[in-house]
């Protein structure tokens, strides 16, 4: 993160402090035009190369997806779906480049208990700061897209950084740089939305009447967007969620539960402490001590008789 510093944080996990917005920045976005993708996996290779990651050699189980899922080393993954379009009678090969969507309202950041382990920059990029990560896996539960992966080697969470290091010095992400068809483009969010407009118009003119952009409002929009030929049915694309939102359970856990739980336990402890200190003692009286002696004698005698 060469050029991005703490002044550039818009949000910090497990922190109420929000740095003053001194350095303004454009919101950036990566636009993935699924209709242009040929599934070459150059983006996957470029991601491994730039981020200095190596993936294990896996097994072929008869699908093109390789590896089979996102891993702590594979931050982006081509997911291949073969779909028979009943309307046109065509077999369509839907290829989606999966990875972090860089939500405007990131569930991972909301769920994270470690201060500063997940940050969102002013430019919209959501980044994991490994030295603050404790490896608890809460981000996995916070994410509505099932993206973060925890390394079993160093117990840290990993995902696409949107090449925040490259972006901070004015470079496009490695995947966008490597894409041979221009299916991945990068720029300001505004520019990408404009660019997508043109692509959608083009697709519609070619008969994809439901072509559209995927910028889900349930998470406040994303900084990775798709152009889909069937934007009305995103689930076709390897189960891209129709209307992703941070789970209500996570909202409740990290919202109401967190604050009321703290208040209730804190109040109970304080009340108990104060009451036990100042209230009339519940103490044994001299009389009770004497009565006890009497009762013990009685009962002991009864015991001997029996």
């Amino acid at each position: 993160m060469a050029g991005l510093q703490s002044q550039d944080f818009a949000r910090i996990s497990a922190t109420t402090f929000r740095p003053p917005d001194v350095r303004h920045d454009f919101e950036v976005a990566k636009l993935i035009d699924v209709s242009k993708c040929i599934g070459c996996k150059a983006c996957q290779a470029a991601c491994l190369e730039w981020n200095n990651l190596r993936e294990e050699v896996g097994f072929n189980i008869g699908v093109y997806d390789n590896p089979h899922d996102l891993t702590p080393n594979t931050w982006t993954l081509m997911r291949f779906t073969e779909w028979e379009n009943a309307e046109s009678g065509n077999l369509e090969w839907l290829i989606r480049k999966d990875g972090c969507m860089h939500c405007a309202d990131p569930g991972c950041l909301k769920a994270c208990p470690a201060p500063g382990a997940i940050v969102q920059y002013n430019n919209g990029i959501v980044d994991f700061v490994s030295e603050n990560c404790i490896g608890c896996g809460y981000c996995v539960k916070g994410c509505p897209f099932n993206i973060p992966r925890i390394s079993q080697t160093d117990h840290k969470a990993y995902k696409c950084t949107l090449c925040s290091d490259r972006v901070s010095v004015g470079q496009a992400p490695a995947c966008a740089k490597a894409c041979p068809t221009g299916a991945i483009v990068f720029g300001t969010k505004e520019a990408m939305l404009n660019y997508a407009e043109g692509r959608i118009t083009d697709l519609k003119s070619r008969g994809f009447k439901n072509a559209g952009i995927y910028d889900p409002p349930g998470v406040g929009g994303t900084h990775v967007m798709y152009v889909l030929h069937h934007a009305d049915r995103p689930q076709l694309y390897a189960n891209l969620p129709q209307n992703p939102r941070i789970s209500q359970v996570v909202e409740l856990w990290k919202g109401l539960t967190k604050y009321t739980g703290m208040a209730v336990v804190g109040f109970a402890a304080m009340f108990a402490f104060v009451h036990a200190t100042v209230a009339r003692r519940n103490d044994v009286s001299r009389a009770e001590d004497r009565e006890a002696e009497h009762l013990i004698d009685e009962e002991a005698a009864r015991g001997r008789e029996a």
């Binding site: 789970s247 856990w253 209730v264 001590d289 006890a292 009762l295 009962e299």
Partner: protein, 231 residues
Amino acid sequence: MAVRREEERTTVDRYPGRVRVNHWVTAISLILLALSGAALFHPSLFFLSSFFGGGSNTRMLHPWIGVVLLLSFAILFVQMVRYNFWTRVDTEWMRHIGDVMAGREENLPEIGKYNGAQKLVFWLMTLMILVLFGTGLMIWYEYFGTSFTIEQQRFAHIVHALAAIAMLLVVIVHIYAGFYVRGTINAMTEGKVTGGWAFRHHRLWLRREARKGVIDERQVPPRRHGVGPAE
């Protein structure tokens, strides 16, 4: 377990060493769990993780302390469960909870080893520890990260948090009662209580214990009639 006549006072044995050790292992684990859990529960308490060697160590240690607590509580459960079955006296005692709170002990029925509230603490702790352990396994990411769906883990998280809050409230009541009712803590530190304490709070239990016999530990034999060493 016996009533002992000492030089200055009479005591009743309440907990043997093996129960006290177990109780304190459980108590210490519970405090460590509360501190490390609080560190992960609320950002303003994250600083507590420094007592455990940082965030990563806290995340690693918390579940293992949970395993220790489960084991020590399991033994404690076996040691105590036979005194904790609900009886009609407990229902009667619970009806007079107002008198309990007001300190009018004379209106209460005679109580055995435990009163209704103590039994409630026992069973609530049992329930909460089981719930916390079960949900804790589900969110123990290192070993069970892939054993449950993400949705199940989300539910486990919130149930774990709510159960922990409920348990802390029970523990606060438990500790509060131990301090507020003077003479109680001796039961878990020295293993015995005074005769007066047993008379005031657990008279039925005192009767039973006295009936088993009284051990005279005084140097000089008593002059009063009718009281002698236990046969």
